[in-house]
Structure formats: structure tokens, C-alpha cells
Symmetry: D4
Subunit: 177 residues, 8 copies
């Protein structure tokens, strides 16, 4: 395992699955764990303390509300810790964002966007980090960029060819299927 995906609750799993999907596409070995900074604090500390010796090179944490998981892990390891703020019902994920991004000087946590785009980008950032020493991963990251670009160009072409109304109609039809 080179990457550990950790979340405090299984309600975060549908979002964090995006990070796992990216790692699978990039052919990077990963594990997925439910560990809570508040309900299993010893397990959280233990997980981070032994991370490097177990071969982990990056930890991706998902946390919401008073989101302490990433900071708790980062306090116990020096491998990079990336974190995805979970959307929350009461404060729109702003509580998650603030309690993750505002880490004090000395213990960094790399914060990504709130929710799904952040989880996807956490997977990609992990791949970019591992790509610094693994040529095959780097190539897959770059191929992914090219696919994304071609995808945008194709949509742009289609829109120019068929116009707004037809484009929106087709998009709605595809959704329904």
C-alpha cells in the first residue's frame, strides 16, 4: 500500500470513493480505513505513527464539521497528509474547511476543495507526488490531463456545431437514460 485513505465516519465514504477511484485508475495501491480522531484517538495516532514504516507514502483524510482527523494524523507522521473537507448540513462545509486549512505553522495539511472535486483532486495530487519518483505514474497523470483536455474540446466542438438548444436537449436526454 502506498496511499492510505482515512475517514472519520462511513457517511464520508461516497465522497472519498472518488479519491479511491482515481488511485485505481492510476494503478496506485491504496487502503481505505474508517478511523475517528474523536472516537478512536489511539487508533488514529497509531495509524499515523506507523504509516511510513508500513510503506505508506501519502495519507488522504476526509473529515467534516470540527474536522480534526487530518491534523491529528499530520501531528504523528511526516509523510504528506492531504485532506478533503466534507460538506456539512449546517454550515455548508465552511466549518470543515476552516478547521482543516488553518493549521498552525509546523504541521502542514494540504487542503483540497470541499466535497467530490476535492476528493478527486486528493487522489490526483497523491499521484502527482508519487509521480515525482515513479515514471509510470507520472505518465498516467499526464495522459489523464490530455483526456480531460480532449473532453473539453469535444464538448466545445459539439456545442458550436449544434447550438445551445440542441446541446441542452441532448444533455437532458443523456441524464434520463
Amino acid at each position: 500500500m502506498r496511499v492510505g485513505i482515512v475517514m472519520g465516519s462511513d457517511t464520508d465514504l461516497p465522497i472519498m470513493a472518488e479519491a479511491a477511484k482515481v488511485l485505481r485508475d492510476m494503478e496506485i495501491e491504496y487502503e481505505v480505513r474508517i478511523i475517528s480522531a474523536h472516537r478512536t484517538p489511539e487508533e488514529a495516532a497509531e495509524y499515523a505513527r506507523t504509516a511510513r514504516s508500513r510503506g505508506l507514502e501519502v495519507i488522504i483524510a476526509g473529515a467534516g464539521g470540527a474536522a480534526h482527523l487530518a491534523g491529528s494524523l499530520a501531528a504523528c507522521t511526516t509523510i504528506p497528509v492531504l485532506c478533503v473537507p466534507m460538506p456539512t448540513t449546517s454550515l455548508d462545509g465552511l466549518d470543515s474547511l476552516y478547521s482543516i486549512v488553518q493549521m498552525p505553522g509546523g504541521v502542514p495539511v494540504a487542503t483540497l476543495a470541499i466535497g467530490r472535486p476535492g476528493a478527486k483532486n486528493a487522489g490526483l495530487l497523491a499521484a502527482q507526488i508519487l509521480g515525482l519518483k515513479d515514471e509510470a505514474i507520472r505518465r498516467r497523470v499526464e495522459e489523464n490531463r490530455i483526456r480531460m483536455k480532449e473532453n473539453v474540446l469535444a464538448k466545445d466542438r459539439r456545442l458550436r456545431e449544434i447550438g445551445i438548444e440542441a446541446y441542452l436537449q441532448k444533455k437532458n436526454q443523456e441524464k434520463k437514460r
Copy 2:
């Protein structure tokens, strides 16, 4: 020691001294500690885990930014943990507030106001909690309430007697001294 006042950095000390002052006035034994959830995570866990056996009945934490200290302590003990969000330069203490108050169900932290008023109230709330089983403390809390009330009534009388201008002038003179 019945109350532990803990803060993550000595920059929080001028504010947390307000809590200490209240406890001293209430004749409640306390200790003051600098322990960081991020830089000394093991000490933080250890402090909370042994708190009750060392005789502590309440912990008052002061924390700022991605403020994990109170949550980290609360995760390792079942004595009440009160927390004062520190004012911060970039986000006005809102980052501290959100990362303290939005604790997940299961591990409560009692949040007070941001900064000095919160530190003072943390001391008072600790006294109110201890007052549930300690008659002398309860009496001191109630006397303190009466003094506060008399203080307001005295100011009100003075304002009515001398009027706004004279009142503001005297207040300014007192400040300068």
C-alpha cells in the same frame, strides 16, 4: 488541582489568564499548562487520559485557528472539557470557533465566546459545575453575580446623576491614569 487550564501556545496566555483569575477569585485550585495537539500530541493524549485519576474535574482549553486541542483532549477523557476560541488575525476567530463548536455527536466540548469574555466565562462555568457539589464555591459564584449586578446599578445611577457628557469625560480620565 481540580481544574486544568491548557493552551496550545504561550501566545494564548494573556487571554487564558482571565480564566485563571476567576478560579483564583473563586478559591479553586488549578494548574496552567502549555500542551499542543499538533506539536505534542502524545502529551495531550496523556494529559487527558490521566486527568481524572490525578483529581482534575474540569479541563479548560484555549485554542486558535484549526483549533483541535479541546477535541483531542475530550476524545481521551470523560470529565467536562470547556473551550475558549482564540481570536485570529486572518479570520477574526471564526476559524477557531467553527473548529471547536462543531464537534460530532458523541464527544462534547462546551464552547464559550471568542477571546477574553470567553476565557472569563470558562472560569465561571467551571466554578458553576464544581458548585454543584461544593457549597462554598456555589456561594462565591452567587456573590460574584450580585457584585456584577451592583456594579451595573452603580454605573446606571452615576449616568443618570451626571449625564452623558460628564460620564464620558470621567471615564476617559480614569483610562488615562
Copy 3:
């Protein structure tokens, strides 16, 4: 009755019922009341003023919007007052949070998280406070912590055994039932 759960409107009841549930599980006697700081101000003051003499040791208030209930009660008693900010439609509960947590120095209110997690934690914090002098309650609080921990560990094991896809599928099936 050792704990009074008070709310300003019966629309807060589904959320505040979480606090009641915790107290019942902890075998702590409680009462539930609808008293409004704005529509029944005299009853609110009376309730708080007589709280201690009627045997109450903790008050849990639920309040939303310009949320004055907890502060009004705290002004008239020196037993600990805990407060749960209610979610609101227009300002996401931020109005409730600010009008509860920012109490002036001298009259503390212990603020919990917005909504359900806060209500649950208010019940737990009340139990932790009473546990300082009641051994049986303290034991139940600690057993609850252990159950929570085991629950997380069990989910973690299941996720590791069956993987993300199967886990999410089972979770969805359980929801539908």
C-alpha cells in the same frame, strides 16, 4: 428531576429529543418544557430562578434565530446552562450560533454544535457534569464511549473485508429497509 430540557418552540422538539434520549439512556431524570424567552419571558425567568431549589442541576436549552433563551435562563440561575443552536432556514443556524456563543463575560452559556449532534452532546455533557459526583452515571458515560469506539472499529473491519463497493451497497440496502 436533575436536568431541565427547555425549548422556545415545539418546532425544536425533534432535535431536542436527542438530548432527552441520551439522558434516558444514562438513567438521568429530566423534564422537557416549552418556554419562550420572548413570548413567555416571566415564565422563563421564573423557571431559571427556581431551578436549583427544585433540584435541577443542569439546564439544556434549544434556541434558534435571535436565540435568547439560554442567555435569559443563565441570567437568572447559577447552575450550568448548556445550549444547542437550532438550524435556521435563512442563515443556516449561524444566527442561532452567534446569538448563543457570544455571551458577555460574567454569564456563561456552554454552547454545543448546531442541530442534532449538538443536542446529543448536550445530553452527554450534562451526564459528564453529573458524573463528577455520581459514580453510576460516570460509568455509563464511559461505557458509552467504549461502545462508540467499538462501533467505529467494527465498521472499519467490515470496510477492509468487503471493500468500498460492497460496503456502500450494503449501506444503501440497510437504509431502504
Copy 4:
């Protein structure tokens, strides 16, 4: 006395003096009081309950942080209660604003702007309300409007005559005096 200006602390006095100044200019009798919703709750309730019978027609309250004063007064009287949210160091007066303006249906509080402009406007609004039955006050309100307008027109003329640089220079000189 037709208007009561009430504030929770004498630190609000420099701002609330703006309301008093307007009332004096409008030749409306007023009183100024320091009464705290949290430290003198009984006095606050008593003040509001007897307001109408003592001849008061409008109450202007100034309150900051978890700002309950206006709501507490409004709960005990049916004369109009106007409120000025005080600026606060930690949350820029947003805590004051939210805890004043978001009153529940049934007990209105008329909220003005945060700080000095709000205090001035509270005085003017009180005058506008009293002007509904007092011709002399109404005339003074309208004369004040005309003066304000002429003041703007005069500045506009001066700026057009002497240009930006000279205008700013003169303004700086006037400040220094």
C-alpha cells in the same frame, strides 16, 4: 420622557450618545440608562413593563455580542423597540446584528445599522415615529433632511469648483485643526 435610550454596558455609551444627540436636536425628551439583560435581568424586565405607564413611547436599545437586550425589552412591552447593533472586536458586529435582527415572529425589534450610523438613525426613526402625532417634531425632521441635502449639494459644488486635489488638501487641513 418620551424616549428611553438603554444600553447593556457603559462601553456602548460613546456610540449611543449619537442617538441622544439627535433627540436633543429634535427637542424630544429622553432618558439614558445602563441596564443589562444578563446582569440585571429583573431591572430590564421591570423597565420595559412599566415603560408605557411612565410615558415612554419609544425605546432605543444598544447591544453587542450575544445581544439580547432589545429582545428582552420587546418581550415585556408593546411600545416600539429600536435597536443598534454594537461593533464587536471578534466578529465585526455580525454577532450583534444576527442576534438582534432575527427575532421570531410575534415580538418585533426594529434593527438599525451597526454602530454610529445606526445610533444616529435610531434617534431619527424615533423622531419620525413621534412625528406621526407631533407636528413640531415632524417639521424638525423635515428641516433636518433639507439641511442634509444642502450639505451634500454644497460639497458637490465645492468639489466641482476646486477639483479633487484641492478638495482633498482642504479636507486634510480641516481634520488636523
Copy 5:
């Protein structure tokens, strides 16, 4: 007509109808108008300029987003202008609130809560203002307060009698009908 209820768009009507309902209950004559500060600026200015001479004593405005209606009206009249910030889809009504409450010194607008509670309270505040010179209205306002209070007391009694579960069940049944 003694009160004019004005809104910038008929989408505000369901909310502003709450203000109308209160005035009808209080037996106060009112008119309801759709006038836009941005799309019919001349009509808005004209409406306010002639308000007093047409017998209006209070204007209640409802406005959302960059909510200029109340300020535009207040600039052209010296009768009291009350304003209800409309909820908005993108910024939760915060844009409405800020653009209404932060009026500059000299031209007051009395701001109420965002949405329905604010509309109801605008009607009540208008009644409280008119009640200063109209004994019958004042009496109706006070009766309304008593009804509200009795309503809360009745709910409190019912809750104490039947308990949380039964209360919630009955409430759900009433909703369905």
C-alpha cells in the same frame, strides 16, 4: 389607508402577505403595491413623496438581493419605513439583509428578520407604532401578545402531560391533515 405594503416583485407576495394578514387582524387599513426601485424608479419616488399627504403613516417594504426599495422610499419621505429582507437562492438572504440594514446615517430604515417572521413582525411593528396614538389598535396588539403567550403555555402543558413521543406523533398527524 394608513399603511402601504410595497414590494419590488410579485415573487415577494407570498411572504409579504404575512404583513397584510397581521394588519387585517389588527383592523388597520392598508394597501398592497408592486413598485420596483430599479424598474419603476419614478413611481417609487412618487409613491414615497406623496405618501404622507395621501394619509399613509407607515410604509412596509419587502426587497431582495441588492435590495434598494426601502432605502429609495425612505429617501423621499419622513414617515417610518420598515423593511423585510427577502430570502434569496444564492446568498441565503444575506445580500438582502446587508443592503437594507446598513443605511447611512440620516435616512433610517427599520429592518426586520429575513422572510416570513420578518413580514409578520413588520405588520406588528406598524401596529405598535399606530398604537401610540390609537387606543383600539394598542389594545389589539396587547391581546395578540396574550394569545401568543397562552398558546406557548398550552403547548408546554400538553408536552408535559403526554411526553415527547406522543407529542411528536400528534404533531405529525396534524400536519398530514
Copy 6:
């Protein structure tokens, strides 16, 4: 083509179609493109750099989240760039707004309202700009203003004639059709 409507993703199309509709009504030639500042950065730069030489006079961009599209385009051209912040699920479009409106001195972007009203106004503002040198467009803009005004006046008349209840009933019926 005189106006280019550009968006970073086809999910923005339903909103940006409002801008296109206005331009069509104003008989202004426009093109619609999907170009991403982050996924097709070279195409974005190229689009802006060649805009003026291809005859474009105004660019309307729609962008959400960390919304860099308008700024990236504005950095590469000196024709006016207008931008519509997209609503976002996590931060209510506030992230879009801040990352568009706070452009540094030197490279202006004209920001419109979040979402649909902003897209419509971007189309209108483009027409107003082109109307400075094109008499026919100017006339159409002014006719549009008059239609808007008459629309408000008609609704106002209808409301006055039939009253609130009937008006709301008819509106609901029209919606259902």
C-alpha cells in the same frame, strides 16, 4: 460575431443561455464556447489574444468555484470582459463571486450577480456597451427597459384590482399550466 460567451464547463450552459437569449433579442451576433482556464489553458489564452482581431468587442464569461476563467481571459485582451459567478453547491456561489470580483488593480473584470439574473444582465450590459456606437442596439435596450416597466405597472394594477388572495391563486394556476 461581436460578443463571445465563454464558460468553463457545459454544466454552466443552462444559466449562460440567459445571456445568449438577451443578445438574440437585441439582434447582436454572438458565439458560445466551452473553454476551461484549468483544463484548456492554452485555448483560453489563444481565444482572448485573438478576440479583438476576430471582431469580438465584448467577452461574457461564466465561471464557478475557484473561478479563474474571466481573469485568465482579461489578462490576454483589452476588450471588456464581463463575468457571471456560477452558483455552487458547497459555498452558495460565494467562492465564485470572491474569485471573480476581487481582481487586482490593472486587469478589470466587470462582475454581475450570481446565477441567472447575472447572466441576463451580462447580456444587457454587453448591449449597453455596444449601444454606445450602435444606434439600433441602443434603441432596443431602451425599448426593453420600457417593456420591463410596463410589466411591473401591469402587475401592480392587477394586484390592486383583485387583491392578494386572488392574485396568488391566479399565479399558482399559471405555474401549473
Copy 7:
């Protein structure tokens, strides 16, 4: 005069002078006026209504707090109205921003950044708009862009040559002069 710079109060003048400076540099004729939407509403409406016939092609407004000036002007003219939100002491200019940018569909206002950068950009955007039909202005806008770019390149070169410490030292020395 081709551009009118309008502000509600002379306290906005130091900031709005930045817009004037840009127009002077671009050799565009402009006028500067103090007109208040709230204190001189008739003058504001008149100014906008006659703007086009007096030869104005763009209006730049500066407004703060409940910032209605730009919207009031835009309601009475169809030439482009640009607006600079003023910084405010209580809400950091957020009140200004929201009350300007969230204009309803139909009456656009082009919003720039809060404060000085926004004022500078308002001047530049006006120049870009006029540059669409005035070749000389367009050339000056482009020369300005090149100067800005060269300025950044020069700083970059200096930093690379002398390093961080020397660069910061020189910068501090230049400030002191």
C-alpha cells in the same frame, strides 16, 4: 465629458481619485460629482436621466454600506454603470459588495473589486469600453498593459539578482524616503 465619476459622500473621494487618475492618464475627459442616492435622490435620478444627452458614455459610481447609488443611477439610464464597493468599518465592505453586485435581472451594474484596486479598474474598464470606438484610447490601454508587464518583469529580475533579503531591505528603504 465622456465619463462621470459619482460618489455618495466625500469620504469616498480618496479612493475614487484612483479612477480619476486613470482617466487623466488615458486622456479621457471626466467630471467628478458628489451625489447621494439617499440624501439627494432627485439629483441622482436627474443626473442619470440626462447623462446620455449631456454626452456621458460611462458612469463610475462609488458607494458603501447599503450601497444604492449605482443601482439608482442604472435605473435611470442605459449607458453602462460601473461601481466600486467602498470598504466599510463594520462589515469589511461586504455590505457594499452585496448591495451592489446582486442587482436583479434587467438593470445591470458592472461591479469591480472593493476599494482602491476596484477604483483603478473602474477607470481602466471605462477606457476599455471607450476604446471600442476610439483608437487612441485603445492604444493607451494597451501601452498601459505593456508597462505593467514590464514593471513585473523588472521586479522579477531584481529579485533574482539580489535575493530576498537585499530586495526587502531596499523596499523598506524606498518606503521610508
Copy 8:
């Protein structure tokens, strides 16, 4: 050079110097550049596109306001891009934070805390990333952690030995020197 520190303006230099200081302490080669996404867009794209081939392994960007620099760089390279949101005068750095952290799925930017702590942590995170393949750097990162920890422990000891008053006095004396 293994790390590139890039900022949009030399006003960001005092903060970004913190990142440089960490890299120097960690004996990691770095370069510092002033490149603006808005004023030198071609240089920004060129810098990122050639970053890997010039040997760079991590880019640290500092950006404020509508902060597009990091996103613009990340769009043109697949080496990790870390970003420090700059504090801003009008919106407290919230504009910087939102426009950096909310990157769309596909192009990750690792966001650190606002201002100095974020700049320091960007340097540390870069070191942690390089430490994955460079044993010497990894060791220095771990030594740094131990020094931080010992520093906290020393302060804690001193506070316990000399008490709050003496501690604060000594701290003030040290500041004055």
C-alpha cells in the same frame, strides 16, 4: 533548483520569505520569482510548462484577492503545486482562500493556511514531499518536529515553574529587547 517559490507581487515577499527560510534550513535548493497570472500570463504559463524539465519538483505559489496564480500554474504542469492564500485588507484573506481552495476536479492545488503559518507550512510540505525520495531531507524534517516539540515542552516547564505573572512579564521583556 528543486522548488520554485512564485508570487504575483513583491508585496507578498515578506510572507513568502517564510517558505524560503524553511527550505534553506532543510538544505533544499529553491528559486524565488515574481510572476503574475494577470499581468504576465505568458510568463506564468511558460514557467509552469517548463518546470519539470528544468528540474523543479514542487512549486509553491503565493497569491491574494482573486488569486489565480496557483491555478494557472497547476493548469500547465503536473508537478505538485502548493499555495498560500495572502491576507487581504478588505476580505481578511477569505477571497484569497476561496479562489485557491475551490479548484475544480482534475487540476489539484494543495492549499495551506492564510499568511505566515501557511507559507512556513508550504515549505515544510515541500520538504515532506521531497523527503519521500531523499533520506537526508526526511531526517531534517523529523529533527525539526522534535525541536518544535522540545520547544513546547520547555515553555510548559517554564510556565509551571514560574507561574503566569512572571511568565508574561519575562515574555514582554523579551519582546522589548
